[in-house]
Amino acid sequence: MIGLFEIFITAFIVQNIVLAGFLGICPIIGVSKKQSSALGMGLAVMFVMMMASIITYFVYHGILDTFDLRFMRTVVFILITASLVQFVEIIVKKFFPPLYKSLGLFLPLIATNCAILGAILLNVDRSLSFVEAMVNSFGISAGFLLVIFIFSTLRERLDMSPHTPKGFKGVPIALIVSGIMAIAFMGFAGMGS
């Protein structure tokens, strides 16, 4: 139990996928202009990541490992993620049209979100058990949600700020702010495993 909690905290805060692992930066920069779409994006990533981890766990250990096809993992994983995203896109488009509108272009882009492929590959590389892998994926996606939400609230204020130099408005100042956030998250180093 303690082991699982350690995995969760490590994935959630200490080794945060965005601020310490540098994965999934594109949506953080691109979709974080409004709180509501940031929340939607975070939840969508969470759902796709959990689904993808479950499926890839069984595909990897059931098929690729048994038939000694481990070198195929990158190809197989990216195709699984891409088709899952297509599936989520259809569901969101059908049942939550406003969310679909605000997520716009970034929903299909989850397919090429490196956070998801990164999480799946990390699960496999560390040879975690099924429960551990689930907890790890949940922690990673929760960390992503946390950062994208905090970031969107910061950016709403940044856009109002009159003190930003002209050339630094938008992406550059967002990157520098995320650097400062990463310094804050460095304070957690040493916790967990």
């Binding site: 601020l19 310490a20 692992g21 540098f22 994965l23 999934g24 930066i25 594109c26 920069i29 070198f71 195929m72 993992r73 990158t74 190809v75 990216i78 195709l79 891409a82 397919a111 090429t112 979100n113 490196c114 492929l117 990164g118 590959l121 990390l122 590389d125 130099p165 002209k166 050339g167 630094f168 992406v171 550059p172 100042i173 967002a174 990157l175 520098i176 995320s178 650097g179 400062i180 990463a182 310094i183 460095m186």
Partner: protein
Amino acid sequence: MDNHKQPNVNLKEVFFVNIIRENPVFVMLLSLCPILGVSSNFVNAISIGAMTGLVILLTNIVVSLLSRIIPNEVRIPVLITIIATSVTLMEMLVHAYIPAMHFALGIFLPLIVVNCVVFGRAEAFAIRNKLIPSIVDALGVSAGILLALGLMGFIRELLGTGAIDLFGLYFRLFPEHFAIPLFIMPAGAFIVLGMIIGIIFSVKMMKQEKQDGLLKNKSVTKA
């Protein structure tokens, strides 16, 4: 098929536009993850840049050769499969011949698959152009990425450790106790990249304003 007759594609421009004016990283803001993740030292940054470049070259060649066969409706899965295959190929080669680099780059090597630049070039250029322009385009984009990664790695390693370690050759600029370790940590990556992009945007804006000013002056003197 004659690849040399390309009246509407200027090869020189295709090559150079990707390096500075449409630099994939600093101007188009693509492929930010590896730029931030693997740029804590110069050699690693250059090697991931070279790997990405090779993958772009390989996919551009395959895609431009197959562009007539690939049906338009399913081109995205086909492109993804081609990219994933070339990345797997690269990964296996590196694992076999340069294991130290495989260890240093870690997860960022398979993650070249989801690098938007690779997909972007295949989708926006290679599928619509013939072999030779596609190769030139791949080389230009690779040079742009290599430039960006090299610059990031250089600044971060220099400020973070006070020296550049170039395959065992050691160039020290200032003593180690003056170094700012923040720059080789994750936070430093964000700040350095933000600064570089901000400076580029500012310079662009100044140029634009100058041009606008000249135009205004001209119209005033004419009036």
